[in-house]
């Protein structure tokens, strides 16, 4: 038995998307070229733009193609920061939720180091949900020096849905633009850019059955975005670079299919996830579900646990060797698991955070996947617990103090 329980990392390509890609890769043509081949490619790009916009409640002119979610996040954070500062140099504060993905956090801290920004990490509660009161206080006290707010639609690790309605209302009351990373939300939750009131929103194709290497920043026409990539002037000059017609066509096909029948799919996904959560808790009674206890307030495909006394990487190995693919959920540097900044921001202590494991379900997930997980999880936890204690103990004879 094998089971892929890591849809939050990437999803299997939808069969219809594979078809679209196969056909599109057979055609030559730079969408910027004026000849027939170029015009044909341009048509694919624009039809795809209309499809993505339609699926996400945006106008076609608001869709800026990027190489993926990370580039879209960088463009939003750096582009809005620079754009705001051009007309209002005093606006140097970047407000981001402490549980943002590194693709948002790291550009923000880069701006602090290199471009005079001041990063304000907005706290979250024990379930990983933004503390709206903290945002309100920040804006009421220092809105005039704030460049932008970035709060994700749903957290990639613990699945917590963020109170974007309140974030947008608060920020706009103070004239501050809001960006949201919606990479995890599309295909699992209804996402309507226009209704959300957001100024900019990140989406990624491969998180929803599309190809890797393509995404978009959905961004209002009046949002002040300074380009990050300069060159041929594509995408209104906001994002230069030759457009890859097959990739955007695949992206459009994936988003279109993901959004159709979403309600039914999300219900089925949530039911499967609830079953997984209940069975994990029954099998490992001391496992702690992280993220919102009310599963209606988390991504329908997300389940996240910490297993006391275990190292997440030990569990990962034991499950992997039994054909079950999950994730510790946290960022890796050359594969070294660091304690998750998301869990630490939620107040989880470092030892508990090391025992984290995320199971994320998607379109191809079945009850058999959950069965496969439960067949091996109890034994894996028992073994990882024994290994965790061994790895943590120090020899009594070991000198640990520096003498002088």
């Amino acid at each position: 038995m094998s089971a892929y329980l890591d849809h939050a990392a990437t999803t299997p390509l939808l069969p219809s998307v594979r078809q679209v890609l196969a056909e599109a890769w057979g055609r030559t043509g730079n969408p910027s070229s004026l000849h027939a081949a170029g015009r044909a490619a341009r048509r694919v790009v624009e039809e795809s733009r209309e499809a993505v916009a339609g699926a996400l409640g945006a106008r076609p002119s608001e869709v800026v193609w990027t190489s993926g979610g990370t580039e879209a996040d960088n463009l939003a954070v750096k582009g809005l920061f620079w754009g705001r500062r051009t007309t209002a140099p005093e606006r140097r504060r970047v407000l981001v939720a402490a549980v943002e993905h590194h693709a948002v956090l790291d550009p923000a801290f880069w701006l602090a180091e290199h471009a005079g920004a001041e990063v304000v990490l907005l706290p979250v509660d024990g379930e990983g949900v933004l503390d709206v009161g903290a945002l309100r206080a920040e804006l009421e006290q220092r809105a005039a020096t704030t460049a932008l707010v970035s709060v994700m639609w749903a957290n990639n690790e613990v699945g917590a849905l963020q109170p974007l309605d309140e974030v947008v209302a608060l920020a706009h009351r103070h004239g501050v633009p809001v960006h949201a990373d919606a990479a995890q939300a599309v295909g699992q939750l209804p996402v309507d850019f226009s209704a959300s009131g957001l100024d900019a929103m990140t989406v990624s194709a491969h998180k929803t059955g599309g190809p890797g290497g393509v995404g978009a920043l959905v961004v209002r026409r009046d949002a002040p975005v300074t380009p990050v990539l300069h060159g041929g002037g594509q995408e209104r000059g906001i994002r230069s670079g030759t457009l890859v017609a097959p990739l955007v066509a695949g992206f459009a096909a994936a988003v279109t299919e993901s959004v159709s029948g979403l309600d039914e799919h999300a219900l089925a996904l949530a039911a499967l996830r609830d079953d997984l959560v209940a069975r994990v808790r029954a099998a490992v009674p001391d496992a702690v579900l992280r993220g919102p206890a009310d599963t209606g307030r988390r991504l329908p495909g997300n389940a996240h646990f910490t297993f006391p006394g275990c190292e997440g990487d030990s569990l990962l190995y034991l499950l992997d060797s039994a054909g079950v693919e999950a994730s510790t959920g946290s960022a890796c540097q050359a594969g070294v698991a660091q304690p998750s900044h998301v869990l630490l921001a939620m107040g989880v202590d470092e030892a508990d955070a090391r025992g984290a494991l995320r199971f994320s379900l998607g379109r191809t997930s079945t009850a058999a996947d959950v069965d496969a997980l439960l067949a091996v999880l109890p034994g894996a936890v028992e073994r990882a617990r024994a290994a965790g204690l061994v790895g943590g103990a120090l020899d009594a004879a070991t000198p640990v103090e520096v003498a002088s």
Binding site: D313, S314, L316, Y317, L318, D320, S321, Q333, A334, G335, V336, A337, R383, A384, A386, A387, V390, G391, L394, D395, A397, T398, P399, V400, E401, V402, A403, S404
Partner: protein
């Protein structure tokens, strides 16, 4: 067997894993992350824990088609190997961090975790041979290639742990053979340079590393009669046998070179003298590990080695009250032995045991046989580090 292959990112461990796989074992690769602040790239031949090394290890695992993980053992490494390195230098002793790493990390934390996770053994790219004994207890022998032999740094591990270890390169004829084999197997690390020096001193400047960690503390350089010859910035910067960098203004009266004879951290003094003063006739050692029944009060003839690539010399050893008493003929030319060094006993190519040096001195100062050697305090002695891993 289910075998966990430690992959450093270098050529030896990659070929060792390949050989274990070829021998029919079910092999999984693991790279040990030993530092939290890892350099992005290797700089020359230095360091062994850069992110680039982890990438090279992953690539080797890809080529072999084995699963690959990175285990974070940095906390363990910092709290044992690095802390021991600093505290030993601060105490005027000369530690070998590779010995400590084998003792506390590779064949302790890594092996224990592997066994707990269901592996039967750990495999590394060390050059040493394990010869199965009649009772299942392995004997540790020098590698076939004497120039690459690492039995010295492995001896601390002990037979129980080595029984759960594979050294597939022990029979390799040479490093060149291993490199050729890596190339033939399509391993991209085939031509990667060897690593030297101490892996956690990324820039190779051990003195600077110690200065930053321990601070500068000026003191006197004196001769054996206590006469002040010069000054130093910190006794931790000197090791027994050192000749260069003494910064003595006046030459010795006899015009011959002077060497560090002792590092005295409490008095913050460095004692220098002639090459003859470095000669060693007796050594004491403790914390012994045995591969054969421990000797008793009756003297036993052995070969002893006190540095990773040092020459083994004939010696007579006996064990009294847990203290190993080693006598070496002064003609053997053993010099500059320091407290903290690892002492390994051999019978030919076979390792008999290992212990940590607590003191050493010249034969003419040797004690009567029924008394412990004088001046064997750690404060009086220090020495040179060996390379290893």
């Amino acid at each position: 067997m289910r075998v966990l292959a430690a992959l450093s990112g270098g050529v030896d461990s990659a070929v060792a894993a390949a050989r274990a796989q070829e021998a029919g074992h079910d092999v999984v690769g693991v790279h040990m992350a030993l530092s939290r602040q890892r350099e992005q790239h290797r700089t020359g031949s230095r360091g062994c824990c850069s992110i680039e090394d982890a990438g090279d290890a992953r690539r080797a695992a890809d080529v072999l088609g084995i699963p690959f993980y990175v285990w974070d053992l940095s906390e363990r490494f910092e709290r044992t190997v690095v802390a021991d390195f600093l505290s030993e230098y601060a105490a005027g002793r000369t530690p070998n961090p590779c010995v400590r790493c084998n003792e506390h990390v590779k064949f302790a934390a890594l092996l224990d975790k592997a066994l707990a996770l269901g592996f039967d053994a750990v495999c590394t790219g060390h050059y040493a041979r394990l010869v199965a004994g009649p009772d299942g207890v392995p004997a540790l022998h020098r590698a076939r290639d004497a120039a690459k032999d690492q039995s010295y740094v492995l001896a601390v591990t002990g037979p129980e742990r080595l029984a759960r270890t594979l050294f597939p390169l022990g029979d390799a004829a040479s490093k060149d053979e291993v490199r050729r084999e890596a190339a033939a197997r399509g391993l991209p690390v085939a031509s990667k340079p060897d690593s030297y020096d101490i892996c956690f001193v990324a820039d190779g400047d051990t003195r600077g590393f110690l200065d930053r960690a321990l601070g500068t503390r000026p003191g006197e350089v004196v001769d054996t009669d206590g006469a002040v010859l010069g000054s130093h910035d910190g006794a931790h910067g000197f090791t027994v046998g050192q000749r260069r960098g003494l910064r003595l203004g006046r030459p010795a009266p006899d015009g011959r070179p002077r060497y560090v004879l002792a590092v005295e951290p409490v008095r913050n003094r460095v004692v220098v003298g002639s090459a003859e003063d470095l000669a060693v006739g007796w050594i004491t050692a403790d914390r012994a590990v045995w591969y054969v029944p421990a000797p008793g009060a009756e003297p036993v003839d052995v070969l002893v080695q006190v540095r990773a690539h040092g020459t083994p010399v004939p010696a007579v050893v006996r064990l009294r009250d847990g203290v190993l008493d080693v006598r070496v003929a002064e003609e053997a030319g053993l010099r500059g032995v320091a407290a903290g060094q690892s002492l390994v006993l051999y019978d030919g190519d076979r390792v008999l045991g290992q212990a940590t040096v607590t003191g050493a001195g010249r034969a003419r100062r040797a004690p009567a046989d029924d008394a412990p050697p004088p001046g064997a305090s750690a404060d009086a002695l220090a020495g040179a580090s060996g390379e290893g891993r």
